[in-house]
Structures are given as C-alpha cells and as structure tokens.
C-alpha cells in the first residue's frame, strides 16, 4: 500500500545566489506522530542536504526550531504534520528577522537588546551566601513565575507587527523578562531598568496587538507583562505628581 504523503513548501535563500527568497516543494511521508521538524530532518537526511535550519532538544524547551508554519510562528518540534493534512504546509523562517539562509534567521538584534533591560537579579544589599537563601514564599514566587518561563524562541517577535514596523522596539520577550525581575520579591532593580523599559523604544511602543501572547508556546504572556509595566509606570508618574518631594 503506498504510504500517505504531504507536501512541504519551504523557503530557500542563499545570500550568494538568491536575490530574494524562493520556495521549494518537498514531499514527505505523513506519519501520524511526525512533527514539522521530523519532516525537515527527513528531507535533509534523505533528499536534500543543503536545507539549513536550527534545532536541538526536540522537546519544546531549547527554543531553537521556531519557524512560521502556514504564516503563524510555531515551534516546529511541537507542530504535528497531521494538523495540516492534506497540506501543503508552508514552512518559512520566523517573520520580522533578517534571513541568513533558508530557515535560519539572524537574532543578533534580540541578543543585543536583552542585556539592555538588565535581566538579572539586582540587589542593593548583597548578603553573603552564609546567610542562606533570600526568603520567598510560594505566593511571592507565583507573582513572577509565569514570566520566568520564556525560552527565547523568538516566536513573539515574529508575531509582533510593531517589531516588524519599528525594529527599534525592544520587544515582547525582553520586556517580559524585565517584568519577571521587577516582580521578583528578591529584586531591587526596577529603578535601574526604567531608563530602557519605560523608554519610547520600550513598553510605550507596544500597541497591545496581543499576538505575542497568543503564539507563545510557554504561556508567558508578554503582552500582559508590557501592559502591567505600563500601569506601574503610570502609577510612578502619578506618585511623582501627587508627591513630588517623595524620595525616588
């Protein structure tokens, strides 16, 4: 019995001989438990070794294998072929990023923006390790925990039209991580992060399209994080008006 198959229409781009990206169609077996990444590996291993893409853990946690599948940013290791049967499936590099080759995008921009929001624990009074852990109740942890689940997969940037239109926007994942530390009861760095986070390239650029949170494979909700930071910034402003001599 001939095996059922499905077609993948895959973006190809090589900077040396493609002025613009083109599409190439491949036919792969449609296995019930195959994900899009399995299909790409099948293509690379048996049909066309020149196809380039990133992947590693194949369990939705390393964040390497994000691509636009039929126009929506997805982790290809967690996107089953059967969802798209009978196909064809359009597999493109993540939107809004420069394409290096085929399905590989350049995320240097994010890597440079991330340190700007100081995504690390800031302490004014660093206590020695001999003093033990900083206490934090499960309830205090719950306040930020969701925002600590970001795997930097960049799906949110690919889903964000604001980032596409205004590339200077710091963007969903980096701002969500800033929010994660701002909410951490052990952290004392919110004031230090304000210059970047509350800048016009930061939270104020966001128009709350909300797609970042829709596509997030880890339910981090960056859109929520950004709006919550806007509320904090507005309250800070209000405080500075009502209580201008307050220390801050």
């Amino acid at each position: 019995m001939p095996q059922e198959t499905i077609q993948l229409v895959v973006t190809r781009f090589h900077p040396d001989h493609d002025p613009v990206p083109r599409f190439q169609t491949y036919t792969v077996p449609l296995h019930e438990d195959w994900v899009v990444l399995d299909a790409l590996n099948y293509i690379k291993d048996t049909q066309d070794g020149t196809l380039s893409y990133r992947w590693s853990c194949r369990m939705g946690i390393c964040g390497s294998c994000g691509m636009n599948v039929n126009g929506t940013p997805r982790l290809t290791c967690a996107t089953f072929l059967r969802e798209y049967a009978p196909g064809p499936i359009r597999v493109e590099p993540l939107a809004n990023f420069p394409i290096i080759r085929d399905l590989v995008v350049d995320i240097t921009d994010f890597m440079e923006k991330l340190p700007r929001v100081q995504p690390w624990l800031v302490r004014q009074d660093e206590t020695p390790l001999t003093g033990g852990e900083y206490r934090q109740t499960p309830g205090e942890m719950e306040r930020y925990h969701q925002f600590s689940l970001c795997i930097n997969c960049m799906l949110c940037y690919a889903a964000c039209p604001v980032y596409g239109l205004h590339p200077e926007f710091i963007g969903p994942a980096a701002l969500a991580l800033a929010h994660r530390y701002n909410l951490d009861s052990r952290d004392q760095g919110r004031a230090a992060r304000q210059a970047e986070v509350y800048s016009e390239e930061g939270i104020w650029e966001c128009t709350f399209v909300g797609q970042c949170s829709v596509v997030c494979p880890k339910k981090v909700d960056p859109a929520g994080a950004i709006q919550q930071e806007k509320v904090s910034a507005a309250l800070d402003w209000l405080k500075s008006v009502v209580w201008p001599w307050g220390n801050r």
Binding site: D16, S56, R58, I61, C62, A78, W120, L121, N152, L177
Partner: protein
C-alpha cells in the same frame, strides 16, 4: 595574521561553561574570557534537565550521607575524596544560584524546598518545578550578561584544540554563520561541551550532544576515562526518547508492568521506584525480555502511573511532564499512565580531570558531562549532574583564571601552520569528489549499532561486532560526499565534523566496554555477570593512537567507604 587572543576560552555555553565563565570573570576581572559555543547558550542541553540538583541544605541531612549515597550509587567506582569535596561544595553553589535569581521551588515558609530522588536516602534534591535545568541555565545565562569581560562567540564550531609541547594554545573554530575559519588563541581552555548521548539512536539528548569535547581532547592525547559507563534513564517516551523526569517517581509515581504489578518489588524492594537508575533500567529490560511488558508501535514498554498523585500536585511539581505527555502523546497523566522505556541519558565517563578540572594537557580544563572527575563512577545518581556542572564549572573557571596568569601568551607563529592544516582538513569536506555514501545513513548506522551492541546488557560478542562496524564506518566515511558545498550556515558540514567526533567517542566507549570483563553499575556484561573488584575496581582510560584506541587502568581513590555488596 592577527588572531583573536583571550586569556580563557570556554567551549560550550551550558551550565558548566557559563558557571566557569562567571567564576573566571569574577576571580580575575582584569582577564578576558571568551565563551565559544556551537549554539546560543540558552539552547544548550542543560535546558532539558528536569528533576533537580542535589545538595545538603537541611538539618536532617549530612555531607557523609550524600557522599555515601553517591559512592554506593556509583557501585564504588567514584574517587571518594572527589565526592567528599563535591558534596561539601554543592550547597553553596545552589545558594549562589538562588542569589542570582533562580526560581527554586519553595516551602511555605519561603525556604528552598527539596524532593526525593533515586538512590538518595533523604530528600535533598533542590528543584524548580520540573524545569530545573531550564531555570538554572537561563539564570546563569542572564547573570553572565552582567560581566563586561565575558565575550561570546555564539554559533562558532570548534574543530580542534591547538597544542604545542604539551601546552594548550587555543582552538580552531568555524563561524557557522559566515563559514569563516579562524584560530582563537588562549592561555587556558575549558571544555564544557556536555556529553555524547547522540552516539546512540534512542536518547534523551538533544541533537547537539555529539561528544565534541571528548573527541577534541582525546585527539590531542588526553585520556577518556570510564567511557563504558553509559546511563540509561528508566523513563523515556517510546519513539521520541523525550525524558520523563525521575522527579515523577520522587513525587510518588509507580512503575507498572503489563500485569499492573509494581514489579520493582522483585528488584529493589527497599527503594522501589526510588532505586538508582542502573538497577531500574535493568529491571525494566528484564520485564520486557520475560514478556511482562506492554507492546506498542515502538516496541515493548512499561507504564509510569502518576494518577494517584492528583491534578494539583502534578500541576505544581510536574507541570512539564504533563505538558510533554499531552503535547507529544495526547496523554494526560492525571487520567492515564505514561508509556516509558529505558533511554540513553548520560555519560558517566569523559575527559579525565582532577578536582580542579585540570586534564593531562597543560592549560586544558574540562567540567560538566564532558569531564570525568570521578564522582559518578559506574552509575550517576539523578540530580548530581547539575550540581556537578555548578561545582566543577566554578572550580575549573577559577583554576583556569589563576592558571592563565602564569601562562605565557600564545605565540601566533607557532599556530599558523597548524591552523592552515586544520583548515584544509575541515574544508576538504566541501570539495570532495562524488562519493557513494550519504552522511545521515552512516550516522544512523553508527547510532543503531551502538544501541544494539552497547545497550543495558552487553556481551563480548556484541561489543566486538560494534567495533567492527565502527572500523567499517571509518572506511565508509571517506566515501561520503555532502550535498551542501557552501560555507554559509552549512549545517551538513558541521554534522559531518560531528560525525567524526561521534565515531571517535563511540569507539572509545565500545573498546572500554569490551575490556571491562565484569558487571558494575550501568555496565552489565551477560558474559561476566559479577562485579570483579580484584581486576576491575579501577578506572578505565582510553587513549587515542594511530593504531586504534588503547585502554589502560588507574586505581580508584577509596578513602572511607570500602566496597561492599550493593543492595537496595
């Protein structure tokens, strides 16, 4: 030609590499630390670790207890002085991570919580739900961004280590993005490339874990120690090999055979599901061989039953297990048992180092899974490996920082010729004439061969067969041609270089396994079922040579706990 020069070069951006980078940058703020990784640091395989990291933090626990559990778990093949040093350093590292913001799970009073783990006699595994590795890695990565003297080479693939007269000079590396080949010079190099699980077909390990660091060190004369000890984790998902954390048993999950029996009562009655991994994996395979397992599309399996734990506990402590099983199998562990089977997970062996990460090559250090300090012996206890990355990553980082101060600056003129040779070797992949072999086919043959011959149970015959296969693969490798002749982000090219690493490492594993004519820890020979302390209470050391690997032995450091029969 001017080459980039750094004081310390760290290869690998996982837990051990990042911890080493931070330790070095803190120990000596005046030195330049370079972190070279073939992937962005947050993609490193540490990210997939789930269950936790062990350390003595509670008053009901002692260093001696952690050390003894580790020594016994290892089937007495650890160096006991190293283990004692390790258990004493682990709590401080766990607290350090907490001070850097790691969201360790908490007790109601705000203290760090602990959970039970296999082979540990008390609860001593610190965890961040069941995404411990993920949180640990991202905490380290984000913290590393604070240090202006850490420079990263993201997506650079190291092809060789450069040595001169027994001293490390740096590495040759490929910028994957541009295809540019460049020597990177350093006074000290730390290997932190992780393990080699991808040498096997069915593994929890990510695509990147191809044993690069082991092969790099091996090729310049460092010994690979105890490579025959490959850990099979008892609970992987059939088909994908996705890891289902030991924490699911730590939190009270059951293993059931097809007769709905908690069969471990016949193997590890005193510990049941919390027995060490080697015993559990053997027990499961035995159930399969004796016809008491389930049969599925991917062969035999047993069940991991979490239903009695309840939805609330599963959501709170094991959310990733639920996420993974729902997403990949369509199974909700709150309502259905999870099919599992043993899966290659971890390499106890690695580059031979001392407790400061020093190898036999001056200036070359190693830490994490790539290294073998000898705290894991013949079987690692679950949750010791993340602690190992932290403890020995930090120690190697500090040692290298201080060592680099005394080291002479690497001289570029020594390097030029060697780098040119290496570039020719690497670039030859792009210009080879038409061959008859496909890269992926060779890789699959290697991985399946290792799976068959170097499984949970091994025989001399099977191991000799694997070695023959590896010999053939070397021949076939010369006939492989790549489809992709471009230099720009050519992942087929790097895969070819990885396959060369994998073949070297696989051979070291098989030859050490063949030489060890006894059964100990994870190494079980059907033809030598007993432990043999007279002949083999020793570390194996595999050395590369032109004629093929050579195996030597070294005594185990036994300071306090004499070997005894290992019963649970």
């Amino acid at each position: 030609m001017e080459y980039p020069v750094h004081d310390i070069l760290i290869i690998g951006g996982g837990a051990a590499g990042l911890r080493a980078a931070i330790a070095a940058a803190e120990a000596r703020p005046d030195i330049s630390v370079a972190l070279v990784s073939k992937v962005y640091p947050m993609r490193s395989h540490t990210v997939s670790a789930e269950g936790g990291t062990a350390g003595v933090l509670r008053s009901d626990d002692t260093f001696d207890s952690h050390a003894y559990d580790t020594v016994k778990g290892s089937d007495f093949l650890t160096d006991q002085d190293a283990v004692e040093l390790f258990v004493r350093a682990a709590p401080e590292e766990i607290l350090q991570l907490e001070h850097w913001g790691c969201p360790w799970s908490r007790d109601p009073d705000g203290g760090i919580a602990v959970r039970a783990f296999g082979g540990m006699s008390v609860k001593r595994t610190v965890y961040a739900a069941d995404k411990t590795g993920f949180h640990l890695l991202h905490t380290l990565f984000q913290t590393s961004l604070r240090y202006s003297n850490i420079r990263r080479y993201d997506e650079w693939f190291v092809t060789a280590l450069l040595v001169d007269d027994g001293r490390i000079l740096g590495v040759t590396a490929l910028d994957v993005r541009s295809g540019q080949f460049l020597p990177l010079l350093a006074r000290a190099v730390i290997l932190a490339t992780g393990g080699c699980g991808r040498v096997f077909a069915f593994t929890t390990n990510g695509m990147i874990k191809t044993g690069d660091g082991m092969a790099l060190a091996y090729r310049i004369g460092a010994a690979l120690k105890d490579m025959e000890f490959i850990q099979y984790h008892p609970t992987g998902l059939p088909g994908t090999g996705i890891l289902i954390t030991e924490a699911s048993r730590g939190e009270g999950g059951y293993l059931l055979n097809a007769q709905e029996e908690r069969f471990l009562q016949r193997y590890v009655p005193s510990r049941m599901e919390l027995g060490p991994r080697d015993l559990l994996s053997r027990a499961i395979i035995t159930e399969m061989e004796e016809g008491r397992a389930f049969q599925g599309p991917y062969g035999a399996y047993v069940q991991l039953d979490l239903r009695h734990l309840g939805e609330r506990l599963i959501n709170e402590r094991l959310p990733f297990v639920r996420e993974l099983t729902q997403e990949y199998l369509g199974i909700d562990p709150v309502r259905e048992p999870i099919p599992v089977r043993p899966v290659v997970h971890y390499s106890m062996g690695g580059v031979d180092t001392d407790t400061e990460g020093k190898t036999s090559i001056t200036g070359l250090y190693a830490a994490g899974e790539v290294a073998c300090v000898s705290i894991n012996g013949a079987n690692r206890l679950g949750s010791n490996s993340l602690s190992e990355c932290l403890v020995f990553g930090a120690r190697a980082g500090r040692a290298a920082a201080h060592g680099a101060a005394d080291a002479p600056a690497p001289r570029a003129e020594v390097i030029a010729g060697r780098a040119a040779d290496e570039e020719r070797r690497v670039a030859a992949w792009l210009t080879r004439a038409e061959g008859t072999e496909r890269l992926a086919a060779l890789r699959d043959d290697l991985r399946h061969g290792m799976e068959r011959g170097v499984g949970v149970f091994r025989t001399g015959e099977g191991l000799r067969e694997v070695l023959g296969k590896i010999h053939d693969l070397r021949g076939r490798l010369a006939r492989v041609t790549l489809d992709d002749r471009s230099r720009i982000f050519n992942t087929e090219w790097t895969a070819a270089l990885e396959l060369e690493f994998m073949i070297d490492v696989a051979e070291a594993i098989a030859i050490a396994a063949l030489a060890r004519e006894e059964s100990r820890g994870s190494h079980t020979r059907r033809d030598f079922p007993q432990r043999d302390d007279v002949r083999f209470l020793k570390h194996s050391l595999a050395f590369w040579s032109r004629e093929g690997p050579r195996v030597g032995y070294r005594d185990v450091a036994i300071t306090r706990w004499p070997p005894e029969e290992r019963k649970y």
